[in-house]
């Protein structure tokens, strides 16, 4: 117990406290670092770049997460229904992308999106007109959403599937004796059974969305023009501290986003558990 708490304190609590401390200062080219009170927070709340990024990840969360979790839920229910040929193959094959490193996932999709290297060129040739072009302003966020969905559908499916497995067989027996059909069983037994797991998956997805960094940052290497230095709040904070030398303001951005995320996660959790009692 103690060793864990020691490293926990060193590498989670200390950096957190330190970043709160940092956020109260100001870095200037001239005059060095001075105490600034809550000035950074005032700046952050009125910073159009930050809100641009925050709006983008918010949109991402509202669109990508429901699609991803919807697919995961359908897959989990289908696998659990016992009506599939080769169910364990499905389970493993769907989960496989989770094991693929994010960098590699982005590389693969990033190349496949490319019309020379990849498949979109072939697809567009096939239909005869430019159907999709992931590397445009309109498509790029969708393209990122697709990568994230690909990475995590199977992972979320497994969380939901594990929850379904905990339903005792007797309940299904009783339900079918009472004449409930498959859909009725799904609606009245299975969906309530996965509510808790779905809530956890949602909260993890909220964290993931609002902290979006790796996928856009790697795609930026392939398509520098499409992804700005403040594309997501995390990319913004990263660029502020490592290319802009504005460490204090970067810490502030990170804290503000952390708080926003926490509030949203909390609201979702409240809504999700309300019907329990």
């Amino acid at each position: 117990m103690t060793p864990f708490l020691v490293v926990f304190a060193l590498f989670i609590v200390t950096p957190l406290v330190y970043s709160m401390y940092l956020s109260l200062f100001r870095n200037q080219l001239m005059g060095g670092t001075t105490f600034a009170g809550f000035d950074n927070y005032v700046t952050a709340f009125t910073d159009p770049k930050l809100w641009d990024g925050a709006g983008r990840v918010g949109l991402f969360f509202l669109v990508q997460v429901p699609i991803m979790l919807g697919l995961s839920l359908i897959a989990a229910l289908a696998i659990d229904s016992g009506r599939l040929h080769g169910k364990s193959f499905f389970r493993v094959a769907l989960f496989l992308p989770y094991a693929v490193p994010g960098v590699v996932a982005v590389l693969m999709w990033g190349f496949m999106y490319d019309d020379r290297l990849g498949l979109t060129g072939s697809l567009n040739d096939l239909v005869g007109f430019p159907l999709v072009d992931p590397y445009t302003k309109q498509w790029i966020l969708t393209a990122i959403g697709n990568i994230v969905t690909w990475e995590f559908v199977g992972y979320n499916m497994l969380i939901l599937y594990s929850a379904l497995k905990t339903v005792p067989v007797e309940i299904y027996e009783a339900a079918s004796i009472d004449g409930a059909n498959q859909f009725r069983i799904v609606r009245s037994i299975k969906l309530p059974a996965v509510r808790g797991a779905l809530l956890i998956a949602t909260i993890f997805s909220i964290l993931g969305s609002f902290q979006l960094f790796n996928e856009p940052n790697i795609l930026k290497q392939i398509q520098p023009a499409l992804i700005s230095t403040y594309y997501t709040p995390n990319i913004y904070a990263y660029n502020l501290s490592f290319t802009g030398n504005q460490v204090s303001y970067a810490a502030t951005v990170a804290i503000v986003m952390g708080l926003v995320t926490a509030v949203i996660a909390y609201v979702v959790q409240l809504r999700g558990t309300r019907r329990d009692v």
Binding site: M1, L5, V7, F8, F11, I12, L16, S19, L22, L71, A75, R83, L84, H85, F90, V92, A93, L94, L96, P97, A99, V100, P101, G102, V103, V104, L107, M108, W109, F111, M112, R116, L117, L119, V153, L158, I159, S162, A163, K165, T166, V169, Y172, S176, Q211, N214, I218, Q221, I222, N234, Y238, S241, V247, A251, A254, M257, G258, T261, A262, A265
Partner: protein
């Protein structure tokens, strides 16, 4: 399981096909990768992505990957192994000991500890990385292997999984019985609990391994010496080399290198399936 048969409905072809579409989506990029690693650089740019084309260049590509730039890829591979063994191994040990302790011993402040750790799961790694970098640079730890290893040692999610798992898998009565029989705490842990905890430990270890193996952000900010890079950052570097202005195109290296990065972790998952699937199910009970 007699009496369960009417709940074993006929296999549905429609459902299998529908879900098959999802599988196609899941394996499509991997299939693309498998075809691409057999192609030469010019073929990569000109041929259809989902079939073979041109001379079979797999072995040539593999050789180029391991020899490019004085074999830096091999070095990255070795670095990744170090990060995984020490970082993920340490994280698993700590999470196991702490999760077990939280689940099986009552002590003052236990709930507070648990709440703090749950809260910490929600703290994103990226938010911690910048202050950690600054702290490390003050003590001279940046651009060393420790900069990657030390932060990977903490796995709040691993601890959570372990706590849930230990609470389920190790009945307190067994521990009581062992104590009554005069076994010390250590002996109880090593002879009884450890065995019962095995699937949970494998699960936690696998997730820690994946997290370390796939880690990209932390090395990105901590390291600037390519000799210390893990595979992920190395590939990113190659990508930058390949797509920069006036750069030499090494897409075949990036793709073949990616393939070599994926293979070990996928094998680990497939081999240990039985364990992590049961480990996760137990996690799902409490969840």
């Amino acid at each position: 399981m007699a009496g369960y048969s009417y709940l074993r409905p006929r296999k549905s072809v429609t459902l299998t096909v529908l879900l098959g579409a999802l599988i196609v989506y899941s394996v499509l990029p991997l299939a693309w990768m498998l075809f691409s690693i057999t192609k030469t650089q010019p073929e990569l740019l000109s041929s259809f992505g989902l079939w073979f084309s041109g001379p079979f260049a797999l072995f040539d590509n593999l050789q180029q990957v391991v020899t490019h730039d004085d074999g830096i890829f091999v070095r990255w591979f070795a670095n990744t192994l170090v990060y995984v063994v020490v970082g993920a191994g340490g994280a698993t040990l700590l999470a196991t000991a702490a999760g077990y302790g939280l689940a099986k011993y009552r002590f003052r402040g236990r709930n507070a500890v648990f709440a703090t750790i749950l809260g910490a799961i929600a703290v994103p790694g990226t938010a911690l990385a910048v202050p950690t970098f600054l702290l490390f640079s003050q003590v001279g730890l940046t651009n060393t292997m420790w900069a990657i290893i030390l932060p990977s040692l903490v796995s709040p999610f691993g601890l959570y999984l372990m706590w849930v798992f230990a609470a389920e898998a190790v009945p307190s009565e067994i521990l009581e019985a062992a104590r009554v029989d005069g076994a010390g705490e250590w002996r109880t842990f090593f002879t009884i609990s450890l065995r019962l905890l095995a699937p949970g430990i494998v699960t936690v270890a696998l997730f820690a391994i994946v997290a370390t193996w796939n880690n990209y952000f932390l090395p990105l900010i901590m390291l600037n010496d390519p000799n210390l890079y893990p595979l992920t950052l190395g590939l990113y570097q190659w990508l930058a080399d390949a797509s920069g202005i006036g750069a030499q195109p090494v897409f075949n290296l990036v793709i073949t290198g990616s393939f070599l990065t994926v293979v070990p972790i996928v094998i680990a998952f497939l081999l240990l399936q039985r364990y992590w699937q049961s480990g996760l199910s137990a996690g799902g009970v409490k969840a």
